[in-house]
Symmetry: D2
């Protein structure tokens, strides 16, 4: 196990992207076709993912009408550019709250409050707002990302169990893990496809991740493994987390961390 | 409450679309950028949603590397066309299991088994398989869709709570509801964005839906409302379910059903 | 040269898809960013291509704000579904003229007139119209597609000449060919990328295609080769045309035709 | 007419994005469905447009398998990121030549030669190359963009003429204009949809644009109007060109230029 002591990140910047008055729109003048909405939501999310990727960020679909992104280094002007792109290419618009906080939960909370102060998500007059909380674009230091997956998911679940059961199993593990990391460590944890769950974390000891694994095992019976990475950007930290998870897959250990000395292949 | 007695559907057709050997691809030759994967997965899901919309179907992102669609009336040739489209436009390919069953859970189970019989999801040799279980393209009768959402979600959650808490709340409700409907009634239940949860169900009494609501309330404290619709296609059933849910939103009742006599605005 | 005598197609169905009041929208309230418009237009075209592909049709980007598709076998209801999809996923709407004619030019002309009769393309009140001319959805018989490209384009142009010169060369060939086929044979001819030019044609003798080749050579100095295919759908005819063009590439002949006996690999 | 004397731009950076070995791929193992290729090409172009928009660039679809972008200020690392994105999301890869030159034609020529020196576009071994000519990322000074359209196109053409004739008319105007500006002034000129033609130009007197208009009128009978803008980025120059073209539409004048003092609404 590669334990590197790294400097703590002082802050993290998270953006909450909220579709303006979306619920009413989906049923006006009559309920819109569900598959059209699904495709629209998915493409908007893809657009957000690519927008933040220009600054090595990370994005989560969250609830689709509310999406989350780690946007360290991105300015208010960058976010306005995304609002412009959505306005020019989609039938909906977005408001954004940008929050900077000492922990992921603090940052997301700050983003939520900043946006809420602008008015209701279903206020037809509240469109294309951009609210900030904290020092946007100025978050030096290191970021920690933990990338979890389910041990032997393909052989134990995908190739063996009913797809409905597998899906529920992974949802249960996600909820258990996300609740635990949020309550214990101020982490923000999201499902990202397959059996992959990504957590934005403060700088934590490996014991914290082991405790999270044990919590999920105890509450749901699911055996997770986790790779942890640090970096100056979400992409760098996440890339190292993936390398660490690969190490777990190869060696059978359940936790691995890759520090700053690992080369990032960009 | 509009209680219409409708004929039971004898069967439902569900397709399980599985990316071939996707996990290994995402880390070959080195871990691929997460935002690129997120955008890829989202666009593939949008493509599936539009593919099934041509036959008034429904699609769920499920785990993204395994996606689910209700495909009544779609043939094996139709599904091969989707495989062709993916092969021609994406860096990955898909295998598909098509299952016909008396209940949604049976159909999804049959699709799972048919696909599993073709080999492992991570077998590099198992590509672009199309396996069927049951009488594909031949599912007469009516389909039931239940469309749930959280009562007063905007005023109680989105506009008030931290986005992280809201997200977890809805995930908990989804898991509770999906588990209950699966175990008690063979339903297949998926989150579709916002606070919306859609369940494919056998034909059920309203008491069953009330019991589901009460189960979620008891286990998570979340108050759901539900619109139920029947139709010859998922779109028709789902459209009526949305109308019924609109009725709940307007009247304050927690359950409403719209039967076949409601006009479908296409 | 494989000369197959085939029955003439009596009619062809062409749809003209026109963005409603698009020009004014692009500068309201101020000029929109050009790259956003380019991406929007390109994705709308991709959506049209996939829409008609469900019925083995063909699509051309034409002027992007006016797009053309061969839609034999597609009904008015199918086209309304495309209008619904655009309305639900894009910031613009589309009107459509569907024309059936004995020749491609007649069909496109009929589609144009049907749409023009609904009002001006820049009339803000004229939205989501669907006008037809002829017996939509009923075009039996065979369709002819000719697929042209430039002989040795890679070695003579792409790998050797300035990209600006190559691009102009192919544009000149396209205009020369399109003008000739339109005036002489009522063909509809469009550039489809690379050095590929596709013509929708009535049933013609090979001499007609040789005359077209010679016209382009004489007016622009560019040496084209052409594969010709017949089929019951644009996809089938176009697939055979591609096979025929492959034969030209391999044998050095300048014209080849693949008739109905060629197997279509779908 | 607003005549602003501006400093000449010393150089412009143009990137030529070429799909690797694309022609052979489209027919391997057998010809791929044309609509799938059309959708793929369109989406790749949309991706390029959005990639360069992050640095206020401009993109042209050119031949789709060869696309052009104005990329002043974008580094080699930025371009590598686009190659990564394509590799991760599409079934094809791209090579890129980046050229810096004193004029648009010089820059595109330099990009072409740099890419050609890497090997043939249809060499299966030449993949994901990135070749440069000139001082990439370092092009200070002002850029000129001229945005042309056809006078009264909607009332004279779209609403009156056959769509096939209108399309040919605009293609003829494009070829005439592009040839003239290339030969006389080293401009790079591309059709961008509707009746819009955009030219990248060196700094020119208004007489040059009037001569271009007259050339097109004399050779094709088509009456163009043109807005000219200067700016530090393609977006800024192009935005001013659009404002100038709006001025033409309102006043009836045929040429207008908007200089640096015009406010850019971003």
């Amino acid at each position: 196990m590669n334990i590197t002591v790294t400097s703590t990140r002082e802050s993290i910047q998270i953006s909450l992207v909220q579709l303006d008055n979306y619920g009413p729109w989906t049923v006006t003048p009559s309920p819109r076709r569900e598959t059209d909405l699904q495709a629209l939501q998915a493409r908007l999310y893809a657009a957000l993912a690519e927008f933040v990727s220009t600054h090595d960020g990370y994005a989560f679909f969250d609830r689709f009408d509310n999406m989350i992104a780690v946007t360290d280094g991105m300015t208010v002007a960058d976010h306005k550019r995304f609002q412009e792109q959505v306005r020019n290419q989609y039938p909906v618009t977005v408001s954004i709250g940008i929050g900077v906080g000492e922990t992921p939960t603090n940052a997301l909370g700050a983003a939520s409050q900043a946006l809420q102060a602008e008015g209701s998500a279903q206020d037809a007059e509240r469109t294309e707002r951009l609210a900030t909380a904290g020092s946007v674009g100025d978050t030096p230091g290191l970021l920690t990302i933990a990338h979890f997956d389910v041990v032997d998911v393909t052989s134990e679940f995908t190739d063996r169990k009913d797809a409905g059961e597998t899906s529920l199993t992974i949802q249960r593990a996600t909820v258990s893990l996300a609740s635990y990391l949020r309550e214990e460590y101020d982490g923000v944890t999201r499902f990202v496809g397959g059996d992959n769950i990504i957590a934005l974390c403060p700088s934590l000891d490996l014991e914290a991740f082991e405790a999270a694994r044990e919590h999920v095992q105890a509450t749901t019976g699911i055996d997770l493994q986790v790779g942890i990475g640090e970096g100056e950007t979400p992409h760098e930290a996440g890339y190292r987390a993936k390398l660490a998870l690969e190490e777990c897959r190869e060696t059978g250990q359940r936790i691995d961390r890759v520090g700053l000395r690992a080369t990032i292949d960009r």
